[in-house]
């Protein structure tokens, strides 16, 4: 139990970082590595934007799907809390991201070099939304070692955006990734 959870007179500041990327890339792992609480799963129930049909007579189940989001917490100071949200990177969930990224510090786009394409939609999204982001390659045992610069070239990520190789299971690389993102967000924020 943290003091801020019970003291109503000093409500903490809540900040958040979004962890995005393809299925199985390590979002849940990353949130779990750094979170001070057992990561929670929250669900967003959504109606899939089915194209060309407006058929309300069909069963509603057909059009709704749940998207799981991992949720972790790090208390940074007496009155400062950082929340991490691991969220699916599929294009059809973008409307959910608009809501999620509002007020966020930025995003970590997790990539797996064996399935690099899986992170393209997330990159496209953050590039167009203007939210600060960094690319973190989660290195899996048995996957080939690539330089960060090889990945940058493949992803056509501009030079000022940090691209790093990390291990989502280890605390220090995860902290370094978050530091890179917050530093980058600071650079992108006007004085």
């Amino acid at each position: 139990m943290r003091p801020w959870q019970e003291d109503r007179t000093r409500v903490p500041i809540a900040t958040k970082i979004v962890i995005a990327g393809g299925f199985g890339v390590g979002k849940t792992t990353m949130v779990g590595t750094i979170s001070e609480i057992e990561p929670l799963q929250t669900e967003a129930l959504m109606t899939e934007a089915s194209e060309g049909t407006d058929d309300l007579t069909a069963t509603p189940e057909k059009h709704t799907t749940t998207v799981a989001m991992d949720y972790g917490r790090v208390t940074l100071d007496d009155d400062l809390v950082l929340y991490l949200f691991g969220t699916p990177g599929q294009q059809r969930f973008w409307f959910m991201w608009d809501d999620l990224v509002r007020g966020a510090i930025g995003a970590v786009v997790l990539a797996d070099t064996r399935r690099l394409k899986d992170c393209f939609p997330a990159l496209d999204y953050f590039e167009s939304s203007g939210l600060p982001y960094v690319v973190a390659v989660n290195h899996f045992d048995g996957s080939s070692e690539f330089d960060a610069e090889d990945v940058r070239d493949a992803l056509t990520v501009p030079a000022h955006i940090p691209v790093m190789i990390m291990d989502a299971r280890r605390r220090l690389p995860v902290i370094e990734t978050l530091l890179a993102l917050v530093g980058h967000a600071l650079d992108a924020t006007p004085e």
Partner: protein, 135 residues
């Protein structure tokens, strides 16, 4: 598009009048809420120990469904919207609507995020940086 002959459902919001009776179902299909409830927005219960009895014979509009009561119970401690969603095993959208109702009824207070709705400013980012460095 519906084909001729198939029954047509009423369009939500088509002839909307201000809703006086609610909650008539868990969400009532409402998606609008007056409160800004981001995933990380803090909420907490407003302590009102004598209110229980009053609630039990309250009118339909104020009757507390079990879910609402459970949320108020969780909110005895400062919680975020996402945390309530996870602990209640309820989708975020549903939790937002219920929290919005509870706030309207004066059962919970929405404390916000402690900073504006936009991205954090430099001073706050500096604080987050130092906090992360101390981990």
């Amino acid at each position: 598009m519906s084909t001729p002959g198939t029954p047509r459902l009423p369009v939500r919001g088509g002839d909307r009048k201000p809703a006086r009776v609610r909650p008539y179902s868990l969400t009532g299909g409402r998606t609008r809420f007056g409160h800004v409830l981001l995933v990380e927005t803090f909420v907490a219960a407003i302590e009102a120990p004598e209110e229980r009895k009053e609630l039990e014979n309250g009118s339909l509009s104020t009757r507390v469904v079990p879910e609402l009561r459970a949320i108020v119970e969780l909110c005895r401690r400062m919680r975020t919207v996402a945390e309530i969603s996870a602990l209640m095993r309820m989708p975020l959208g549903v939790v937002r609507v219920l929290l919005s109702d509870l706030a309207d009824q004066g059962k919970i207070r929405v404390y916000g995020t402690g900073h504006g709705p936009r991205q954090p400013d430099r001073a706050l980012l500096e604080r987050v940086l130092s906090g992360l460095r101390r981990l």
